[in-house]
């Protein structure tokens, strides 16, 4: 892969200044990847990519503009930068805008082991073989696995370079490997899909391909014969995959841009109880090899570990410099930066701290209720906290899993739902950058027939 040239970044910053910018930052991203897919044992697709983009943010006093381009020729870049500075001059001044406080910029970068230096991009033949092995294992699980949407193995490597006119310059390289399998089960009635995946920054740490296929098929099989149930109120148990979604939603509502816009149900809730006392949620960008780890945030500030929620109390918001200034707080090292946009906010590695209950304990605790395994749709209103999503899962009767359920919704309000978490599982598995153990919400509304 072509290395990004720190000299180019410095040149672009100087060029911005020459055109009258009072401050600027540059982000360059270079990425390459290969995706290989098989379906029903045959090769279905190969996709290889390389790209390089440069993003620039320029300030003229308190006015700013963002631009991004794939054109790295210095002549065209020079005119591109000049146009961007001209654009900034046309933008209304905003006294809260600007580069971060230089004193907060990361001065040393932790070794996070984000790159699999041994492996790089997996060649097509090898990637196809891994996908084939996973799908084959999935198809062999049961005669009711009758079809497949295939299996795909992806590997990618990217390099990020961030520099600003206050002297920050940082660079890192990261890799990621993932394998996903999507078998389809049918017993003559409606078909059901299962999906499972493994993702890691280190190739050797991926789950075994066959086990991924087997889990995917089991997930499809357990949905066969799913039916609708009557409208009712009952306890809802969230499997880890769907539980993580609720943790992510909380982080979104605690993010600075949503808060200063008044677009969050967590406005003015700092240092108040927003969840049950057993709920502690950690944001930790320093986990070695973590999928959400990085050596500095999207503005060049140091990454850290902190409690977002501790014993149910909201301890911090997630802030970039802009939203921190708006809210009269300090940035929290959670700036994220797309190449073409001004910094926004995201969590890093985010997790709900495990409790003491085994999954079996939690299921056993439910007399009548639902284990939710799938959620679809976008029915979450983060302004009001109103929550209503399409769901599928398995009905629990007298502490036992019974029949699969589909075509229902679960609804409530997030403000009450987080407070009604009354059992938290003891197992936490890092499968993505946001994870959660299983948990139970004491009561929600199921809408069905």
């Amino acid at each position: 892969m072509a290395m990004l040239d720190p000299g180019l970044a410095q040149w672009a910053l100087d060029e911005a200044r020459r055109n009258g910018a009072t401050a600027a930052d540059i982000i360059c991203v270079s990425a390459e990847s290969l995706a290989a897919g098989v379906r029903l044992g045959e090769v279905e697709k190969l996709k290889s990519s390389r790209e390089r983009r440069l993003g620039i943010r320029v300030f003229t006093g308190d006015s700013s503009a963002n631009a991004s381009t794939a054109d790295m020729e210095r002549d065209s870049l020079a005119s591109f930068i000049a146009e961007t500075v001209a654009m900034a001059r046309l933008t209304a001044p905003d006294p809260f805008s600007g580069l971060p406080n230089p004193a907060l910029q990361a001065s040393h970068f932790p070794e996070l082991n984000l790159e699999d230096t041994e492996t790089g991009i997996i060649p097509a033949d090898e990637a196809l073989e891994i996908a084939r092995k996973a799908e084959k294992a999935a198809l062999a699980v049961d005669s009711r696995i009758t079809n497949s949407e295939g299996a795909e193995f992806d590997s990618g490597r990217y390099e990020v370079l961030l520099a600003n006119s206050n002297g920050f310059s940082g660079r890192y390289v990261a890799t990621s490997y993932s394998l996903g399998v999507a078998p389809i089960a049918s017993d003559g009635g409606a078909m059901q899909q299962g999906y499972w995946h493994t993702t890691n920054r280190q190739r050797v740490k991926l789950d075994d391909a066959e086990s991924v296929g087997v889990i995917a098929s089991k997930r499809a099989l357990r949905r066969l014969g799913a039916r609708k149930i009557k409208t009712t109120r009952c306890p809802i148990v969230f499997e880890p995959e769907v539980a993580a979604g609720l943790i992510r939603t909380l982080a979104g509502a605690a993010s600075g841009p949503a808060l200063y816009k008044g677009a969050s149900f967590l406005v003015d809730r700092l240092e108040t109880a927003v969840a049950a006392p057993s709920v502690t949620i950690i944001d930790d960008g320093t986990i070695v090899g973590g999928l959400g780890s990085k050596p500095f945030d999207g503005e060049g500030l140091a990454i850290n570990r902190k409690a977002l929620v501790e014993n149910g109390v909201l301890k911090t918001y997630l802030l970039d410099s802009y939203s921190a200034r708006k809210l009269k707080l300090q940035p929290t090292g959670n700036a994220s930066r797309g190449v073409g946009d001004s910094p926004s906010v995201s969590s890093t590695n985010l997790y709900l701290v495990p409790g003491e209950h085994t999954s079996a304990d939690i299921i056993r605790s439910v007399k009548h209720g639902l284990l939710v395994t799938e959620l679809i749709g976008f029915g979450v209103n983060s302004v009001t906290g109103d929550y209503s999503r399409g769901a599928g899962g398995i009905w629990i009767e007298d502490g036992e899993l019974t029949f699969p359920v589909q075509e229902i919704t679960i609804a409530g309000n997030l403000k009450e739902m987080y407070s009604a978490i009354d059992m938290i599982g003891c197992e936490l598995v890092w499968r993505s950058s946001t994870v959660s153990p299983m948990f139970r919400i004491a009561e929600m509304i199921i809408a069905g027939t």
């Binding site: 190969l46 996709k47 009712t232 749709g377 075509e407 809408a447």
Partner: protein, 482 residues
């Protein structure tokens, strides 16, 4: 700043030196192994956006991207590679990567001769591009929206408005020697407001757009209409009571509620899912999947529409495809690969987000044709139910057919009258079943205002939807009031 009218056929030759011989050599290299088809997709995209918050235009950005994607198809296999450097060398590397999908043996392909561009629709021949409108004018529009929204009601506390516009120049060259070139403009205006009273805080939003000139947003005070809609939605929701929970009669208003068709029907009729037999609609052509009142089409040829294209992203002219005719399933949406494998004709629905992706079957503008009933008559016929007029997003599980779409503005119907507003709720149903429950279809077909974006397999493309007022006898409403 003046903007020249671009001739798409000449653009990639003049800017990147893509002459006939470079194109023929690259396609030739892509076809070096035993392949059925290969194509090159060139794209040059210029986009600008600005957004207002707290009465200030805070963000302006521009983005310039270009690249070329090389695709090789052999039987049901697809090799794809792309590069953001449009040079002969990088195209050769991409062609080598893409052709790895094909068998080693030589296909004995005849040399490719690139022809002249074919005829295309003329659905968005703009005389000026919004990119040429001074930034200060575009900023002023957002400031006018802000002032107007705040003046409408003192409970409006936050206003967010954005305007984005892009111009994509594309050229597609395939192994049949066919060339298609186009300039694709696309603009969109959005308004979101937050209203607060002592009791709570609610959001309302509205938007419009299409492949249109800048004056579209100004003429007839369209921007003002949009602002009023967003404010009214937020204010209405301040008074909303809990939505009901359970199965009930639902009346959908005209226009954007057509997202029902997109989720419940459209995705399930995309050719790839049906070729693979993984859709709940697979193998059901000719069967009844809707009440006889329902005729649903996908039409990529509507003038200036967000979901329209002169030709799809494989160079096939777009068309009008009847999906459901009087309740009977008639057709699928096809790209070239799936049409060839299903031994049918492509329908002009092969689309992709950008040069970084291979195309696949996607919708364009999907809507139900008008029926006979007056909308008042439809509402008047319901003794107890829900009237939903605005929606957020939706999603479908193709395989089991279950779909959701979330109402953002809805009311109770009691004794034939629209009464109290209710909070947003997700509606869930079964794709092959829901339209069989359509009991009345209004005479008031409307298309959405031009705001739809559809996501599939990680690719987003602009789409349109449309619907007359319809009455559905039984769909589950996911409220909290049991």
């Amino acid at each position: 700043m003046t903007q020249e009218i671009v001739k798409p056929e000449k653009f990639f030759l003049e800017r990147f030196g893509m002459n006939e011989s470079a194109l023929e050599r690259t396609i030739g290299s892509a076809l070096e192994r035993r392949a059925d088809y290969a194509d090159l997709y060139f794209e040059y995209r210029n986009a600008e956006g600005l957004s207002l918050e707290e009465s200030i235009v805070k963000h302006t950005n521009k983005s310039l991207s270009h690249g070329v994607g090389v695709r090789v198809c052999a039987e049901d296999r697809t090799g794809y590679a792309y590069s953001d450097e449009v040079t002969v060398d990088r195209m050769r590397l991409a062609a080598e990567a893409a052709r790895a999908i094909a068998d080693q043996s030589s296909g004995n392909q005849p040399a490719v001769r690139v022809g002249a561009p074919g005829e295309r629709h003329r659905l968005y021949e703009l005389t000026s591009t919004p990119l040429g409108v001074p930034l200060a004018d575009r900023a002023r529009l957002l400031e006018d929206i802000d002032r107007t929204a705040r003046a409408l009601d003192p409970r409006v506390t936050k206003v967010m408005a954005s305007f984005s516009t892009e111009e994509k120049i594309v050229m597609i060259v395939n192994s049949g020697g066919q060339v298609a070139a186009d300039v694709q403009p696309l603009s969109r205006l959005n308004v979101t407001v937050i209203a607060e009273d002592g009791a709570g805080r609610q959001v309302g939003s509205s938007g419009c757009g299409g492949r249109v000139e800048y004056k579209y947003f100004i003429e007839g005070d369209r921007w003002r209409e949009l602002t009023v809609k967003a404010v009214n939605q937020a204010l209405t929701n301040l008074d909303a009571i809990d939505a009901p929970a359970g199965e009930m009669v639902v009346v959908l208003g005209p226009g954007w509620p057509g997202i029902l068709l997109h989720e419940a029907i459209g995705h399930g009729l995309e050719g790839d899912f049906n070729r693979k037999g993984v859709s709940a609609f697979a193998g059901r052509i000719g069967e009844r999947v809707a009440s006889p009142l329902c005729t649903v089409v996908d039409d990529g040829t509507m003038v200036n529409r967000r979901g329209s294209l002169n030709f799809d992203d494989e160079g096939t002219p777009t068309s009008r495809t009847v999906l459901i005719e009087k309740g009977i399933l008639r057709g699928y949406l096809q790209d070239r690969l799936n049409a060839r494998l299903m031994k049918t004709a492509p329908t002009g629905n092969g689309r992709r987000e950008s040069f970084a992706y291979a195309p696949m079957p996607r919708m364009t503008n999907t809507f139900m044709l008008s029926g006979e009933s007056a909308p008042e008559e439809i509402i008047g016929s319901v003794s107890k139910g829900l009237y939903a007029v605005n929606f957020g997003g939706g999603q479908v599980d193709i395989t089991n057919g279950k779909f959701v779409f979330s109402a953002s503005e809805a009311f109770l119907i009691e004794d034939g009258k629209v009464t109290r507003p209710v909070k947003g709720a997700t509606l869930i149903g079964d794709g092959p079943d829901v339209l069989t429950r359509v009991a009345m279809v209004g005479n008031d077909l409307e298309l959405d205002p031009g705001v739809g974006t559809c996501g599939k397999d990680g690719q987003s493309v602009p789409v349109g939807v449309g619907l007359p007022t319809i009455r559905i006898d039984g769909i589950t409403v996911g409220g909290t009031h049991a």
